[in-house]
Every structure is written in C-alpha cells, then in structure tokens.
Symmetry: C2
Subunit: 260 residues, 2 copies
C-alpha cells in the first residue's frame, strides 16, 4: 500500500505558488483537524487532495484582479488542476445545508457528493452549461462589452443554458435577448471548463441575418461588429479594443474565426 | 393591458392531456392560494404558468413507465414545453431551503430564481451537462446496457460532465471508465434537453483505438459493438436489440451514424 498524499495549498480559494511559479502543495498534516477533504486524483504516484475552505465565493469572475493576473502566469496543467479543485471545494463551502429540507450535509464519496444528515438526500457538485458565441455578419464579428466592464474591453456574448433548451436554442435566445438579432446555422466549435464558480463554456459560431442591433442596456454597455482585421489586431494587442486573455475560451474562438 | 393567462395542468409532475392528446391547460384560478407560480412564457397572446408541486422527483428517468409511454405520444412542441416546465417546477420543489445557510427560500423573478429569506443568497435553476457518445471502431458501434435495464435494451454510453472538464475530456473519461477503451477525434453532433430532472444531453461521436473492452460491472451490465446493419435493424424495430425511443437523443445519434 502506498500512503503518499499531498494537499493543494490554498488561501481561502486563492492558489499559492512555489518559487518556480507552480502550484504549491503541502501534506495532509497541514489540513485542519475538522477539514473536509476532496480527493482530486492521483498524480506521480501521490493522492492529491484539497480542503474545503470556510467560505465559498460566487462573485463574478472579473471581481478579483489579483487572481486574474495570477492565472495568466500558470502553466496549462496547473491552471486545469486549480480550476477543477476550486470549483469542487467552492461548491462544498456553499452547500453545507440541504436544499430539500434545510438540514446539515456532510461530505461523502471523497468529495464528489454531500449527503443530508436529516433526510438522506444526496447532492452532487454543480456545473452550469454556458453558451458563448461568435456571431458573424458579412465578414464582421459581433462582440460585446458587458455593463461594468472596463472601457474598451470586448468579448463574445455568452449566457447560461436554461432548463428545456438545447445548445443551439440557447445561443439563438441569448443573442436575440442581448443584441436583438436573429441567428442561424449555429455550430459547435470548442468547450472549456471555467471555475467562477463552475461553468462549462460551450463555444459556438453562428451567422446573423442582419446587423441592425437592438441592445439590452440592462446587460450590455456596447455591442459592435468588428472587421477580421480589427479582431486580428486586437488579439495581437494593438487593435481598436482589448481582447479577452489567452486563458479564456473567447480568445481561442476569436483566433479560430480570424484563421477561418 | 392583456390579462390572459393559463396554467399548465399537472398532477404532481405528471402532465394531463386533453381529448386531442395535447397538454391540458387551466386558469390561474385553478392554482392553490399559496401556490408558487413559474412564468413559462407567452404563447398565442396568453401568459403561461406552472405551479410548483408539493414534492419534486429526482428518481431516474426509467422509473416511471407510465410517463415514458405518455411522452411517446406527445407532439414535439408539447414535449418541449412540458420538459422545460417539469425541470423548472421540480427544481423549485426540491430547493425550498438555502444550501448556504439552511434558511427558507422563496420564489423570485417569475420562477427563474429563489432567494434565501435568512441570508439573501440567490439560487438559480440547475441544468446538468451530460455527454452521450457514439463510439465507433472499424465500422461497428459501441452500445451499452446499464445495470437494471431490461434485457435487450441498448443505448449510447453517457455520463455527467464533472467540474474542471471540457466536453471532449468528459467523453474520453466516461468511455474509459465504463468500457476501458481509449477514444480519439471526439466530435459534437447535437444536443437536447432532458427533464429527469434537468439535463443538457450533449451528443458526440468518437473513434475507439481498440475493441478490447474492460467493462465497469458496477455501472454496465453489457457493452457490445454492433454492425451498421444491426443498428439499422434495431432502429426499425427488428434488430438484435431494443433501441432507445424516438424522443431520446440516443435514437437520433444512432440514426445519424447509420446514415453517415
């Protein structure tokens, strides 16, 4: 039997980095006596765990510039591991009670479940599907700036898939709600998990029938069609707007579109 | 102002049908005094609502043969409306308490949100992304029979997308866990909402590197590779296995594969 194990070093939900800029790890002895531990998997022969922090964080992804810039420095592998671990422990921290009866819940199945001590209901980590879409019209790409975003920052429109919708229906509804435009020929491009708190980003491409916008000003500050050249320049850091960072799926979707 | 409204007739979570086999509707007066009402949308100039039933139902989809056969008779439009409404009211019925603090929650935003009366946390309807995948090897298709399924019934393998995974990673992990086979070239085919209780089914195709199976017997009773002819015959009702019903995405994926 191999008892080797390590504990992901977290300060609340923030990662700690070692001298080489990699995720820092400790031992299970570093966990508090009463800490709830989630099993993340085995890597290099060691079982990897993360402890559930006292508090979760469901604030919007843009709300923590410190984490945002730190994530940009992480290697892909560390980013994926941190993202999955963060989603999981954050879910536990925000689900200490049973939605069915209000009773206390306890961690189960190594962290992939919580059980209610009062009524026995089983609860499972949540992942919300979100569509994020390129909308094209006569060779130009629709991008938006959400309310409260910094001036000049644009990205693809996005929105949660609602109960009863397919991916394609969610894309069409969201674009119509936010920009007032009908789309057709929705195609899936790529997907990516996003840990604020736990989304599955589903990237699609579609064509708009028109570029006459009717913007929902309760959600969007601006919606603009940019030329291929403008999007290309923005991705290179010298365009008419600030593009999403490289670790966001919107960045990859825009690259895909520029090369298409 | 137009006050026209109608209430979806539900017996618990079961739909009621009128003489023409369509979904039955009543008026808001049919709702209990203290009923929580969810706004479903406007159709033919009437606002459509559904009332949250006393109890939800998170039992597996196969557990209710009566509903199963009733769904097969519904028109596509009614099936979509019932599915979305069922997912929504079922979520409300199972989320009367706050997972954050255990306090009571109340319906908000016309049924698209619940708010905690104690700590103010906002809760949103949940939809779980699930991958369902065709796995092909040298012109044959891998299908499985889950534990507890009737003898002879086969469908595509499927599993929840876990926090930290992309769609493509979830497909590969799930096939390896359930059948012991590595897959490559995962491609998205189609998606469909599934209301038991609220899944987004994400249909994919992939190629297996081998047909040497190592089946997880805690989940699957059988995993078998069928020829195109066998799958074609099964879809026509005369094959070596019972295919999924026409309202399931697995049926459409298998049709897509037969025609490919």
């Amino acid at each position: 039997m191999n008892w080797k194990a390590r504990l992901l070093a977290l300060d609340g939900l923030m990662p700690s980095l070692d001298d080489e800029g990699r995720l820092a790890w400790g031992t299970l002895a570093d966990a508090a006596e009463d800490a709830e531990l989630c099993f993340l998997g085995i890597e290099n022969g060691k079982a990897c765990f993360a402890a559930v922090p006292p508090r979760g964080d469901a604030s919007p992804r843009m709300a923590n510039p410190q984490l945002w810039s730190l994530m940009a420095t992480l290697q892909h592998e560390d980013l994926a591991l941190y993202g999955g671990a963060r989603s999981l422990v954050d879910w536990h921290a925000r689900h200490r009670f049973c939605a069915q009866c209000g009773g206390s819940t306890v961690i189960a199945k190594g962290g992939w479940q919580r059980n209610c001590e009062a009524c026995g209901t089983q609860h499972f980590p949540r992942t919300d599907p979100v569509t994020i879409m390129l909308v094209e019209h006569e060779g130009r790409l629709m991008l938006g700036r959400g309310l409260g975003w910094p001036e000049g920052r644009f990205s693809a429109l996005a929105g949660f898939v609602e109960p009863g919708e397919s991916i394609e229906e969610a894309v069409a509804r969201e674009v119509f709600e936010e920009a007032g435009v009908r789309v057709r020929d929705v195609n899936y491009i790529a997907s990516q998990p996003w840990p604020f708190p736990s989304q599955l980003m589903i990237g699609c491409h579609s064509f708009a029938d028109s570029d006459e916008l009717d913007i929902d000003t309760t959600e969007m500050a601006e919606v603009v069609f940019f030329t291929r050249e403008e999007v290309k320049d923005a991705l290179a850091g010298s365009g008419p707007f600030v593009a999403p960072p490289t670790h966001a799926i919107a960045h990859h979707l825009m690259h895909w579109w520029v090369r298409k």
